[in-house]
């Protein structure tokens, strides 16, 4: 019984841990894909505010295993980020 209790405590503390170098401490990503669903924001190369959330500080695209974006939306994201780069918006 004691072991089980300890195990539960450990999992809770692990949630707040950083699990990647690229992840910023103040931004915690949800486990569900934030870009799919009914009220999800539209991915567009003109929407710079949204695109900047999914870039690291040096301007590289964050992997979907960190941000938990679905595969279909990750492809859209990458395409629109590259378009914005071409126009020198990001």
């Amino acid at each position: 019984m004691k072991r089980k209790k300890n195990f539960k405590k450990n999992t809770k503390s692990n949630k707040n841990k950083k699990f990647n170098l690229f992840q910023r401490a103040d931004l915690k990503f949800s486990k569900i894909c934030p870009l799919s669903g009914k009220d999800a924001p539209e991915i567009d190369y003109k929407n710079i505010k949204l695109l900047k959330k999914y870039l690291s500080e040096s301007g590289r695209i964050l992997p979907s295993r960190v941000t938990s974006v679905s595969l279909k939306k990750q492809k859209e994201l990458a395409r629109s980020i590259k378009r914005a780069r071409l126009l020198a918006l990001i």
Binding site: Y45, N47, R83, R85, L86, L87, A88, L89
Partner: protein, 108 residues
């Protein structure tokens, strides 16, 4: 007929006064070559994220239009020669969203 979005970056220093002439020139080019301009947006003077062809800033213009593949051929043929432009980009869209504007006209 397909829907397209087209953005142009114009050089700042020499051609700031001529910028309106440049857009009307390309709008006419679209209208002549079996196209139809629906909306033009002026994003104003923006600083580029990195230096392109020795330019730090550029004037952005955004055109939404209907047309065929031939209109784009003619447009880009004219733009490739043009010295006033830094860059251009055309993108095919399923539907036009004419209400939403992501950029206000502010000078940075």
């Amino acid at each position: 007929m397909n829907n397209y979005e087209h953005t142009i970056i114009v050089k700042q220093d020499k051609f700031e006064n001529q910028s309106k002439q440049i857009i009307t020139k390309y709008e006419n080019l679209i209208n002549i070559n079996s196209g139809k301009v629906l909306k033009t947006e002026d994003w104003g003077l923006r600083s580029l994220s990195r230096i392109i062809k020795n330019n730090k800033r550029g004037l952005y213009f955004h055109i939404k239009f209907e047309g065929t593949g031939e209109t784009i051929e003619e447009l880009e043929k004219a733009e490739n020669i043009d010295e006033m432009l830094i860059r251009f980009l055309t993108i095919k869209v399923k539907e036009h969203d004419l209400k939403k504007e992501y950029f206000d006209k502010k000078e940075y």
